[in-house]
């Protein structure tokens, strides 16, 4: 598997994990009301978006490299 594909796969997995963590933390916040979970939920969702943006950037940039 070419390394570009591997990296994209990996970042996608990390992005999905970020979304999952956001969902989990959101659910935990809903159940317990602790502010800490809200931080995690927002933080993971934010990281997920950043990763998503990164993967698009990476894909575009890698078009140039063999």
């Amino acid at each position: 598997m070419p390394i570009k594909a591997l990296h994209i796969f990996f970042i996608t997995a990390a992005f999905l994990l970020g979304l999952g963590l956001a969902a989990w933390a959101g659910d935990a916040y809903y159940k317990t009301g602790e502010k800490g979970y809200l931080v995690y939920a927002v933080g993971s969702a934010g990281s997920g978006i950043i990763l998503f943006g990164y993967v698009i950037y990476f894909w575009k940039k890698m078009k140039q490299i063999k």
């Binding site: 598997m1 390394i3 591997l6 990296h7 990996f10 970042i11 997995a13 990390a14 994990l17 999952g20 963590l21 989990w24 995690y40 933080g43 993971s44 990281s47 990763l51 990164y54 990476f58 940039k61 890698m62 490299i65 063999k66």
Partner: protein
Amino acid sequence: MEIPYTVTPRRETGLYNGKLGIWLFLASEVMLFGALFSSYVLLRVGAEAWPSRMLSLPLGVLNTAILVTSSVLVVMGWTALKLRQFERFKLFQGLTLLCAVVFLGIKSVEYRQKFNHYEVWLTDKGLEEFKAAHPDHEKWLKPPGVIPGKHSLTGHLADGRSFYDHRKMRANGDKEVVLTPDSIKPAGGEHAHPIRLAAAQIQRLSAYVPAHSSYFAIYFTLTGLHALHVIGGILVMAYLWGPGSRMWKSEPERFTNRIECSVVYWHFVDFIWLIVFPLFYLL
């Protein structure tokens, strides 16, 4: 005597030797970690009680972020090398190594936190005596967990030591154990003074070590094996960053291929962590 296809790919397969080699190695690693994940599933499904929220979520999330960042950095290093920017490569590779070392540092902090954190199960008689002596016991007494039907107390020993257990207690002839208990949120506050437990009241005392429960056994095994793989990756990447980078001058393509193989490996190690993290920190 030249081994063919160390650098130029073989047309039929489109691969150079090292790349095929590392992917085969990863196939075997998938079987290795797969066996451990399957064991996790079997142990968890067969267990009467499976602890949750036992690990530090902030540290786990931090470690995850560090590893994902390191994967991004290591690819940036490889890209720089492909663009023949050797100094940028050195920078990114160095940052990757830094992330990896910090990951291990945080992991060892987490491990140490577990080794001096204890769970005590009292005998039935001991439990009665404890309840009698501490009217506010609901603040400290945890509901039954890994030992069915038995309540427990958790906390730290007053002298802060690690790796103590009831066998050592009996072997040394210690008469009592002084525990600074954890309070059960949200009811408890700070306990005014440590709880004294007589040796006779204690059925089982264990730190959060592999011997504590199946949960910790598989936790330490999986994260320990993962950490060993991180160390392996650090050794290889450090070699390629340091003495190994001399190959850039003599055979740049072969060196780039070596970096590519190490990047593939590093992604795999990171991917394993992406599975380990939810299994232990979230679920």
